[in-house]
């Protein structure tokens, strides 16, 4: 039979068991793996943000130029819109190509270079 002392000891035993490490484990290089993953994530976000800033600046310059041309130099917006509409595929194609080049230059290339570099560092 358990006596009063044994109740005390069962308490002690439970307390000790509750302080024991559970059997779960992580790889030894877990911190490095996570830091590398987070670093890639940070780099991607940063490159996308920079791309967006570039894009906004370029669009801004175009808009300001167009407004200046229309207001100060009294250009006819009808001629512009007719030109854009009649050459819609050409205009769209040039814009998409320019956008892709900017994206590749500001985001993709830099990201893949960063990945290759961090993989080399990680392996080394």
């Amino acid at each position: 039979m358990l006596d009063k002392d044994n109740k005390y000891y069962s308490d002690k035993l439970v307390n000790e068991a509750l302080k024991q490490e559970p059997g779960w484990f992580l790889k030894d290089n877990f911190a490095d793996l996570v830091a590398e993953k987070a670093g890639r994530n940070f780099a991607w976000t940063q490159y996308i943000r920079e791309f967006a800033i570039y894009l906004a600046a370029i669009i801004g310059i175009f808009v300001v130029t167009a407004v200046m041309a229309l207001i100060w130099f009294e250009n006819d917006w009808k001629i512009w819109s007719d030109f854009l509409i009649s050459n819609i595929w050409l205009v769209a194609g040039i814009n998409i190509l320019a956008l892709f080049i900017l994206f590749a230059d500001r985001v993709l290339l830099r990201y893949f270079l960063y990945r290759a570099e961090s993989k080399k560092d990680f392996a080394g």
Binding site: L13, V14, A17, L18, P22, D32, A38
Partner: protein, 193 residues
Amino acid sequence: MEDSELVHQVIGGNNNAFRFLVSKHQRLVLHVVGRIVQQQDQVEDVCQDVFIKVFKTLKNFRGDSKLSTWIASIAYNTAITHIRKQKRRNELSYNEQPLLLADEQDSGLNQKVLEIEEAHRYLLKLIETLPVHYRTVLTLYHLEEFSYKEIVEITGMPEGTIKSYLNRARTLLKGKIEKVARLEQTNIFADYA
């Protein structure tokens, strides 16, 4: 390094600072996630998710609580979401309600529980059979030594519920180990005397 300084460095993109943050808190995250997820092959993935979430949302950390409390709350929520998703996929039965410790588990284990070390192992197994919220509060309170207030912040449970879970879990474990001692007709506590 102070928590605020560390957070500042990580937000600034210092990868070494983040590596340091992960090393510092990975034991805490492992304990919380491990006790909830209970599957070694998934524990590491969930722990990774936790730290990536920490990285992405660190700018929202206002320093109202300790960084460890904040990280533990992310670990708790991520692990709970993970097992709920699994439940939906019917890969694992998720027990929100307290489950009774199955008697059939005694038969094999009773015979082994003769020494203190085995009793510890047996108790660890019993802890793993407790309902998820019991396991979580036991881990946070006893293993990680968080206060009731901090456990409230981490889990969002009321303080009374936490105290009740702790008390009931301890009573269950004590009752079980005393029952085993009686059934074995042996004194597993002899080593303590």
